[in-house]
């Protein structure tokens, strides 16, 4: 394969319309549409509907990604698109656009798995070539812990393109647990940042169960932690314990709790959630003996989770790699471009573009 391979990558797997330009494993631009000023182009009204939002954002996002990456269409060597996992009608927008562009510009296409892209996000380098895997080369097998709003997975990477799913959530994702517990506490949305912020000044003094400790496998479950929080809050009188019979006015006992209570409860929840992840991380390390660890997904923004992961890794003399930029943690197209680059290296291109279709349930 030629050097300086330029890829235009699209990700419309769920909420964000994202387009990126990459050159080999370097990110030249990473545009996330909700953060770009496109409003002038359609009269200033922000589209509320998910699918329509993607349809309206995608063309300006492509133009912006090329502009910021200082790349012209003629320089693009290939295009990449996320085909799954994700929300089917949203994925369709990206797939349809790639088909249209492939016809128009006659470029090869790479079909990318969203979760593989998250796993490889630590391999992304910035435009100057700096990134986590710079001085240290990847040493396989690498264990990946992916934690986001929609996923919680442990994956063993034996090489690029060779993966084994070791465990995943059986019900709610870890990021979802943050949102739901924040809702119970009446803290608004999203739950991750505010719970992490409150937890900083909290004492983890409320006892909550660590999920799936004795399950014997590497799967997670956070629905149990969510209900455990609910029962605890009912006992403490923060949430009415028989919502079915309570009058709306007395459904909430939140008024009685002080600020410190929220901080303490947030700290307790965060601690147990991290512990649930760490129990399985340790177990996976012991069972599969990886040589390095990579983290990915939006919940990795949580600093105590990073610290806990490093602490566990240190015990086994392992290094933890985290993407060089927080933008690579939440859903974005740059990781898709980097993943596509490694696929291109192993000649993994789409053979029949007409047959390319979204795969909402795609997994490792």
């Amino acid at each position: 394969m030629k050097k300086n391979f330029i890829i235009l990558a699209i990700d419309t797997s769920c909420d964000e319309t994202s387009v990126a330009v990459t050159r080999d494993d370097r990110v030249l631009s990473n545009v996330i549409a909700s953060q770009v000023e496109f409003h002038k182009e359609y009269g200033g009204v922000y589209p509320m509907l998910a699918k329509r939002k993607h349809q309206e954002f995608i063309d300006p996002a492509i133009r912006e990604a090329l502009r910021r990456g200082r790349v012209a269409w003629k320089d693009v060597d290939a295009m990449a698109v996320t085909v799954g996992a994700g929300l089917a009608p949203a994925l369709e927008v990206g797939v349809a656009k790639i088909k249209e562009l492939a016809k128009k510009y006659q470029k090869p296409v790479i079909s990318v798995s969203h979760m593989e892209a998250h796993l490889l996000s630590s391999f992304a380098k910035n435009s100057k070539g700096n990134g986590p895997f710079l001085k240290i080369k990847p040493q396989f097998p690498i264990l990946g812990l992916l934690v986001s709003g929609g996923h919680t997975q442990l994956v063993l990477m034996k090489d690029f393109g060779e993966y084994q799913l070791l465990g995943e959530t059986l019900d709610d994702a870890a990021g979802e647990a943050f949102d739901k517990v924040a809702k119970m506490l009446g803290l608004g949305y999203p739950g991750g940042p505010i719970i992490s912020e409150l937890a900083k000044t909290g004492e983890p003094k409320y006892e909550l169960p660590v999920a799936m400790v004795n399950s014997g496998d590497l799967n997670f479950s956070f629905s149990g932690l969510k209900t455990a929080c609910l029962y605890k809050l009912q006992k403490l009188g923060i949430v009415a314990d028989k919502p079915a019979f309570a009058k709306p006015a007395c459904r909430s006992g939140r008024a009685s709790a002080g600020k410190q209570f929220y901080c303490d409860f947030a700290a307790s929840f965060e601690k147990v959630l991290i512990e649930s992840l760490m129990v399985k991380l340790k177990k996976a390390i012991e069972s599969y003996r990886p040589r390095q660890i990579v983290l990915g997904g939006g919940v990795i923004n949580n600093l105590p989770l990073r610290q806990a992961s490093r602490k566990v890794a240190r015990k086994y003399d392992l290094r933890v790699f985290i993407p060089h930029n927080n933008k690579l943690l939440t859903d974005n197209a740059a990781m898709v471009g980097v993943c596509a680059y490694y696929q291109a290296k192993r000649n993994d291109f789409v053979k029949d573009i007409e047959k390319l279709d979204r795969q909402p349930n795609l997994n490792f």
């Binding site: 979802e176 119970m184 608004g188």
Partner: protein, 350 residues
């Protein structure tokens, strides 16, 4: 004060970083703030008010927002609520909401109180540049042209390094709106079951399904689920999937909104039919109509089964489906009685 009145810009200290302030109701002043900030990337700008009462003039303070105001404000928190659009619309960047700050900094509160109108609350840096914690930060990273827009700098020296305020949106799943969409089912011995565990909830789902399975020959079957957080709606969906012979693990669709599971439906006599079990969750939708945009109607084919969590947000859409007889809707209410005890009742119009 005079500067704000005349539409000027001030740079002021807060408990996080230095902010740039202008009269939030004056379009020209807001324009200057936007010029100072540069390309904002379509992000809205919050406003600082003096207290909750003042906030109430500019946004609708719902239950969730009220809780946050009581507990955490003043403080480094931006509370997003539905705007009454009495401030300059440019602040909202096309959205219907406005972020409110009550900075934990007496000087600023005093300025806002005396001024009597909200003041823009955004960090005093050009977008993408360093967050300013002292005058030098502002001067070093801002162009002269932009600095010329500023009329007054309230210098309080180097501020302690505190991260920018945490932003929370209180408009999603407002308790009051959810309550308005709630359905009531008349409890009878025939339509009501008691569950004492997640497993029993799954079995009850299977029982309820069997009652209506015959309809699938000619219609799509929708299970509209209502129940508080942790009531077991996803457990109910797991029970349905198991009965349908779906081996995939059914995970919460909250984040993805829609999950689909193909399966083969055994229609005695006519044989196997390729069908899809759709598992939907409206929790993260800003509006119920989004479900139509996401193709709800195309799912309503005979043999398909749709389970929808948080029916409260899409009740009018479901009622229209019933009215037009596009599908058979089974309404399911899961009430929490005690810790693990649930009362599950169902109802369906012919």
């Amino acid at each position: 004060m005079a500067i704000l009145k005349d539409g000027g810009l001030i740079i002021y200290p807060t408990e996080t970083c230095y902010g740039i302030g202008a009269d939030a109701t004056n379009a020209e002043a807001v324009k200057k703030v936007l010029d100072f900030k540069g390309s904002r990337g379509g992000k809205p700008i919050s406003v600082a008010v003096f207290d909750k009462k003042m906030a109430g003039k500019y946004v609708i303070v719902n239950e969730t927002a009220d809780n946050l105001y009581q507990k955490f404000l003043p403080g480094p928190l931006t509370v997003v609520s539905k705007s009454k659009t009495k401030t300059d619309p440019a602040l909202q960047a096309g959205k219907e909401t406005l972020g409110i700050r009550i900075p934990d900094y007496p000087l600023v509160l005093e300025i806002v109180r005396k001024f009597g109108k909200p003041v823009t609350a955004t960090s005093a840096n050009t977008s993408g540049k360093k967050t300013p914690y002292c005058l030098e930060d502002v001067l070093k990273y801002t162009t002269k042209k932009r600095l010329a827009l500023v009329d007054l700098f309230l210098d309080a020296g180097r501020l302690p390094y505190n991260p920018p305020s945490t932003v929370v949106d209180t408009t999603l799943n407002e308790p009051q709106i959810l309550r308005q969409g709630e359905i009531k089912i008349k409890i009878t011995s025939q339509n009501t079951f008691i569950s004492n565990s997640e497993n029993e909830t799954k079995k009850i789902a299977s029982k309820i399904f069997e009652r209506y399975a015959g309809i699938l020959k000619s219609k799509c079957l929708i299970f509209a689920l209502q129940g508080e957080l942790g009531a077991g709606k996803t457990q109910f969906a797991k029970g349905l999937a198991k009965t349908l012979g779906i081996r995939d693990n059914i995970v919460s669709p909250t984040f993805t909104i829609i999950r689909e599971y193909p399966f083969k439906l055994d229609l005695q006599r006519t044989g196997l039919c390729k069908s899809i079990f759709y598992h939907l969750d409206t929790w993260r939708l800003e509006r119920g109509e989004e479900l139509l945009d996401l193709g709800l109607e195309s799912m309503l084919k005979p043999g398909n089964i749709v389970a929808i969590e948080w029916l409260q947000k899409v009740r009018p859409i479901l009622e229209k489906i019933v009215e037009k007889k596009k599908a058979r809707v089974v309404w399911v209410v899961i009430d929490s009685l005690f810790e693990n005890k649930r009362r599950i009742s169902c109802q369906s119009e012919k």
